[in-house]
């Protein structure tokens, strides 16, 4: 499953880039993130509680930033094990484009979910992933530019 979207953030690109590399900002914005610890400048370990309706599973995993091109973009990949619930992995290519004083954040994400949660929740995975991506980028926009609160204006599954 692929997700693409873009979002306007009312902040300069350097500031958006710094936030994208800030573990505290990421922890606040990743839906269900309980812990995010920086292991190296580009590696983080994370604990995320994923809730889909009646299901609730805790995923422990890692987040890695690669293909860094400050301040214009990077690739974020993550994977996690949810024990009996299954596994989840995904990646997002994020690039930032300056638009006057604001920044347009574009993303192209892929997500894969396997195991029991995928079997039982198959009909919900796409919708949930889209919702989570929207929540993440929405929260990210608010964290970087608190005065404006834009929702993810365009998120389309392909």
């Amino acid at each position: 499953m692929d997700l693409t979207g873009s979002q306007r953030i009312e902040a300069p690109r350097d500031e958006v880039w710094r936030a994208l590399n800030d573990p505290e900002v990421l922890r606040q914005c990743i839906p269900g993130c309980q812990e995010l610890t920086q292991a190296s400048p580009t590696e983080f370990t994370a604990k995320v509680v994923l809730k889909i309706g009646p299901m609730k599973a805790t995923f422990a995993g890692s987040v890695t930033l690669s293909e860094l091109e400050p301040p214009s973009g990077c690739v974020i990949t993550g994977e996690g094990q949810g024990g009996v619930a299954g596994f989840a992995k995904g990646g997002a290519k994020v690039w930032l484009v300056e638009e006057e004083a604001a920044t347009i954040l574009n993303y192209e994400a892929q997500a894969k979910v396997g195991g029991k949660i995928a079997q039982l929740g198959a009909r919900l995975i796409d919708s949930t992933a889209k919702k989570l991506a929207g929540e993440f980028f929405g929260a990210f926009g608010r964290a970087v530019a608190p005065q404006a609160a834009p929702e993810a204006d365009e998120a389309a599954a392909q």
């Binding site: 299901m55 029991k116 009909r123 995975i125 919708s127």
Partner: protein, 268 residues
């Protein structure tokens, strides 16, 4: 299952106290989604608070212009209730189409509405009939209640007491069930009253149940299946999964709506 503590409170205050005291506690109504999830170990609540022992939560009654269905009323009982069949036959038919006999004999309207599964049937009736969800602390209009995928306006410890459906007008529900689960691949609940039409679509939208306002506008002017020709939902906003693409569900929702309209016209 993971271990949990089972409670069967004898009144509403005790039930409320138990869920309010522990954020890892879950309310148990009919259990047709929750128990299956627990058996797969996909959730591990610390406590289950069973509402089966709380008196007064099950049953159908007529209160003024509304049909009031207690939260713990089973789908099979809604389908069979003479009061429902007489006042809102479309609702009785909808209840009869939910899941399989086991689900209909255990599952409850309150549980279905609180879960807000994007493919569940009752949310479509609630929106289509402009029902009111009555909880232990307030009354919530259906239009303000369903907030998205599995999300409702309920507080974590809020308990649904009943769902009140206004009586009047003509209604029909048509759904295309998944052949295995009987969940709606797309379902359309259409209601026609004095100068007003409501169309509620379930099973299709990524955000769960929704009103199809373009169809409502078209039908308000000309209440025939033909009025819906050329109208289409956005396939990109529909659920896409192994059972069907978004475009397929968008198309199905249109077909179900036409069928529901044709049935209401036929009843006329």
């Amino acid at each position: 299952m993971f271990p949990f503590t089972y409670h069967r409170p004898a009144d509403l205050d005790a039930a409320r106290g138990l869920v309010a005291a522990n954020e890892e506690a879950k309310l148990l109504a009919g259990g047709q989604t929750l128990i299956a999830t627990l058996k797969q170990r996909l959730a591990g609540p610390s406590d289950l608070v069973d509402l089966a022992g709380v008196p007064g939560l099950a049953g159908v009654s007529r209160g003024g212009d509304a049909l009031v269905i207690g939260a713990m009323t089973r789908h099979a009982d809604v389908a069979a209730a003479p009061l429902v069949r007489e006042a809102l036959p479309a609702l009785a038919e909808l209840a009869e189409l939910i899941g399989d006999p086991a689900v209909r004999n255990r599952g409850t309207i309150g549980g279905s509405v609180a879960n807000n599964d994007p493919s569940a049937d009752y949310p479509a009736a609630c929106l289509g009939l402009a029902a009111t969800i009555v909880t232990d602390r307030r009354r919530i209009a259906a239009g303000d209640f369903f907030l998205g995928l599995f999300e409702t306006a309920l507080e974590p410890d809020e308990i649904i007491l009943s769902v009140a459906f206004p009586v009047g007008g003509a209604a029909a529900y048509e759904k295309f069930p998944n052949p295995a689960s009987r969940y709606a691949m797309a379902g359309s609940f259409v209601w026609r009253g004095e100068g007003a039409v409501r169309v509620a679509i379930t099973g299709a939208g990524q955000e769960g149940v929704f009103r199809w306002s373009e169809a409502e506008a078209a039908l308000a002017g000309d209440f025939t299946p033909r009025a819906l020709e050329g109208l289409a939902l956005d396939g990109d906003a529909m659920i896409a999964d192994i059972h069907g693409s978004g475009a397929y569900r968008a198309h199905l929702a249109g077909v179900m709506t036409k069928r529901a309209v044709a049935r209401i016209v036929g009843q006329g």
